[in-house]
């Protein structure tokens, strides 16, 4: 088993990102869409850490903490919203929430 290089980290990150992005676009369950967004965020985090190691620059690693904090806050708000909407409606897909269409 060869030692993983920076490139292999980046490839994994790209794969994770694409999985997440497709998930957001094709799935209709808001919870799953939510998880996909988390996947995308963490893919970016992974590439940040990998490149920070490569460039021996601490900035990339510290930025990851910001992303984590923002993601946590986003989860709190997002889950709260989903639960609130679920209480008022029996079933829910993201396509049902189209009140703001032009």
């Amino acid at each position: 088993m060869p030692e993983p290089t920076t490139l292999s980290y980046l490839v994994v990150a790209a794969l994770l990102f694409v999985v997440g992005a497709f998930g957001v676009m094709v799935r209709r369950n808001p919870l799953v869409m939510f998880m996909c967004i988390e996947l995308m965020l963490n893919a970016v985090n992974l590439s940040f850490v990998a490149l920070a190691g490569e460039l021996t620059d601490i900035d990339g690693q510290s930025l990851v903490f910001f992303v984590l904090v923002v993601a946590a806050a986003e989860v709190v708000v997002g889950l709260g919203l989903i639960v609130a909407i679920m209480r008022n409606r029996s079933s829910l897909t993201a396509d049902d929430l189209a009140e703001l269409k032009g």
Partner: protein, 637 residues
């Protein structure tokens, strides 16, 4: 004590606001007494401030009380500041004093009116506005009061607004005043742009020290005079004042004597140094307009039949005298005449109100006559007012009018002659009024049939609450001349009192022919006044001469009708043109911009499908496009 000068306008304001909120609950007589109390307390305060100022050395009698910073915008710093100096306190004294008497009188006059408390609400606000006007330290505070009296006069003139004529008269007063307001506003703008301040002190000092150009000084002076013409009913903007008679009589007294119309003369006196430093034609214009108005209005008064219209034209005429004085540089004389005029004109108006009240709202002098037996107190006090305005010594009006004519003689003989003719006409038409109302045969029996419902129609004397102000004012009309007697310098009480304010602008007539022969001019004035009275007696009491009342004068030289036709015909057409331009071109541009935005929005809105996943796709596509662009650029480089 002087620091409390802000309470002077504040008390009537509190009274007005209280009546606005609780007026209906407080009920009829008490609202009147409350308003009177507020105005009277403010008078007492003014008297205290007066004595306080009197105790100071003459040159220190100018006290600024700044309440708060009102408009702090960059270099424009306007404080809500009041100025207590001899001029403003003189004005405040008679505004509150006579205002209080009119409040008291109104309790009797407005008895039983369904809008009793509202009337006193307006009266209190009127007094407040006028006090803000005279006590203002800068043009903006004055302008607040200036607009306030305009609005209050509108409310009060059209107080009985169910009457078509009253509603129209109120509108007329308001609109005509707006023309004058334009002048004041523009003067403020000019003052700010050239002086950088709107306070009277800064403007006057800039004018005296020559730090601003003479053209700018003249522009400020003439624009303020335009405003003064509107507010003080001078040619060519006089015509709202006679129509203001549609309001209840106490309102007429308030407008004509204590508040409103004196504002223009006050303003010109306040900016006296500006007027003095203007080009020569500016004060000349003021004097000529004043003289022309005085004569013009006096000729109209000769042929009026409405008891209040005669007095209204007489006010216009007397205000003309005051402007004549201001234009001739006689500021003390102008103020002197303003004060005495406010005594006897308030007296005459309240007296005429008493007559109207006693005759069940009959205002036509042809249906009066021989009322002195039925209304002895009203008749006696009215006669005192008549002698005062006609210029018979030793009543108040004689001294003030003579002082003005003295200065005018030194300035310009032609204007002096016009002033003399006006004085003759004044004595003539006032005598005519007294004879028609109080002497001769009783013509009001004829009216009893028309009244019908009243059945037993007899004139009656007014209640005490209305007679007390009449008596007080008649005493003032007798002794008012004592403020400024021509015999010796020591008797120039008003002159010495006002000296710190007006000394820069006051013209000196010392050593001129007029000053050295002032007793000759005094004698001429007496002869002219007596001649006017004699002519009138011959025409109306003895019937030796025909009564000259041509239709052209009865219709005010058709001036009003001409203005109405001009404004109604070409004026209205041009205004409609402006409206069309506004609706089509200006609004068209604005609405067109809106329509374009709406159309575009209508197209673009389709992209907002409301499906979250569609947005995700858009974002992804966008990201791909951006990425592609960066990659392509990198490849090119």
């Amino acid at each position: 004590m002087t620091d409390l000068v802000w309470l002077v306008p504040f008390l009537p304001l509190v009274g007005g606001l209280t009546l606005m909120v609780f007026g209906a609950r407080i009920g009829e007589p008490r609202t009147g007494w409350l308003a009177t109390l507020m105005s009277a307390s403010s008078f007492v305060l003014t008297v205290l401030v007066y004595f306080d100022l009197l105790g100071m050395p003459a040159e220190e009698r100018s006290h600024v009380v700044s309440l708060f910073s009102w408009i702090p915008v960059g270099s424009l710093q306007i404080d809500f500041a009041l100025l207590a100096d001899p001029l403003s306190i003189t004005m405040a004294l008679f505004v509150t004093g006579i205002g209080s008497l009119i409040h008291l009188y109104s309790i009797g006059y407005m008895h039983g009116d369904p809008k009793f408390s509202k009337f006193f609400l307006y009266l209190n606000l009127f007094v407040f506005s006028m006090l803000a006007l005279v006590l203002g330290e800068n043009l903006v505070v004055t302008f607040l009061g200036w607009e306030g009296v305009g609005a209050c006069s509108y409310f009060l003139i059209s107080f009985w607004h169910t009457r078509e004529s009253a509603a129209v008269a109120g509108k007329k007063a308001f609109v005509t005043n707006r023309i004058g307001d334009w002048g004041v506003m523009t003067a403020m703008f000019v003052a700010f742009s050239v002086v950088g301040s709107v306070s009277y002190k800064a403007i006057n000092e800039a004018a005296q020290e020559g730090t601003i150009s003479r053209s700018a000084v003249s522009a400020i002076a003439i624009l303020l005079f335009v405003g003064a013409c509107g507010k003080s009913a001078q040619l060519p903007l006089y015509f709202w004042l006679p129509d203001a008679m549609e309001g209840p009589t106490p309102v007429s007294a308030l407008i004509h004597a204590a508040t409103m119309v004196t504002a223009g003369v006050f303003l010109m006196t306040r900016v006296g140094p500006v007027l003095a430093e203007s080009y020569g034609w500016v004060p000349d214009t003021v004097a000529v307009v004043g003289a022309a108005t005085a004569l013009f209005a006096a000729t109209i008064a000769v042929a009026q039949h409405d008891i209040k219209r005669v007095l209204a034209y007489s006010t216009v005429s007397q205000l003309g005298f005051m402007f004549l004085a201001v234009g001739s540089g006689a500021y003390v004389a102008a103020m002197f005449h303003m004060v005495t005029h406010s005594f006897f004109k308030a007296l005459l108006f309240l007296g005429s109100g008493s007559v109207i009240h006693g005759l069940h709202h009959e205002q036509d002098m042809r249906k009066m006559g021989a009322l002195r037996a039925a209304m002895p107190v009203t008749a006696l006090t009215f006669i005192i007012g008549w002698l005062a305005i006609a210029g018979v010594p030793p009543f108040a009006g004689f001294w003030s009018k003579d002082e003005i004519l003295l200065y005018v003689y030194a300035d310009n003989r032609l204007l002096y002659a016009i002033g003399m003719v006006t004085a003759l006409l004044t004595a003539y038409y006032m005598t005519r009024q007294v004879i028609l109302v109080f002497f001769g045969e009783a013509r009001w029996h004829d009216a009893s049939g028309e009244h019908g419902a009243h059945g037993d129609f007899r004139p009656h004397e007014s209640p005490k609450v209305m007679l007390v102000p009449l008596v007080v004012l008649s005493v003032l009309s007798v002794v008012g001349g004592g403020m400024q007697l021509p015999f010796s310098k020591d008797l120039h009480f008003l002159g010495h009192w006002l000296e710190p304010v007006v000394e820069e602008a006051e013209r000196s007539i010392k050593g001129t022919w007029a000053d050295e022969n002032k007793y000759v001019l005094l004698g001429v004035a007496v002869v002219v006044a007596l001649a006017g009275i004699a002519l009138s007696v011959a025409a109306y009491a003895k019937r030796r001469l025909p009564a000259v009342e041509p239709t052209v004068l009865e219709n005010a030289w058709f001036y009003d009708a001409t203005v109405a036709r001009l404004v109604g015909g070409p004026g209205a057409a041009s205004f409609r043109g402006v409206t069309t331009f506004d609706a089509r071109v200006v609004d068209g541009a604005v609405n067109g911009a809106g329509a374009v935005a709406r159309g575009l929005g209508g197209v673009v809105r389709r992209s907002q499908t409301g499906f979250v996943r569609a947005y995700a796709v858009f974002i992804a596509l966008g990201a791909v496009v951006l990425l592609a662009w960066f990659v392509w650029r990198g490849w090119l480089a």
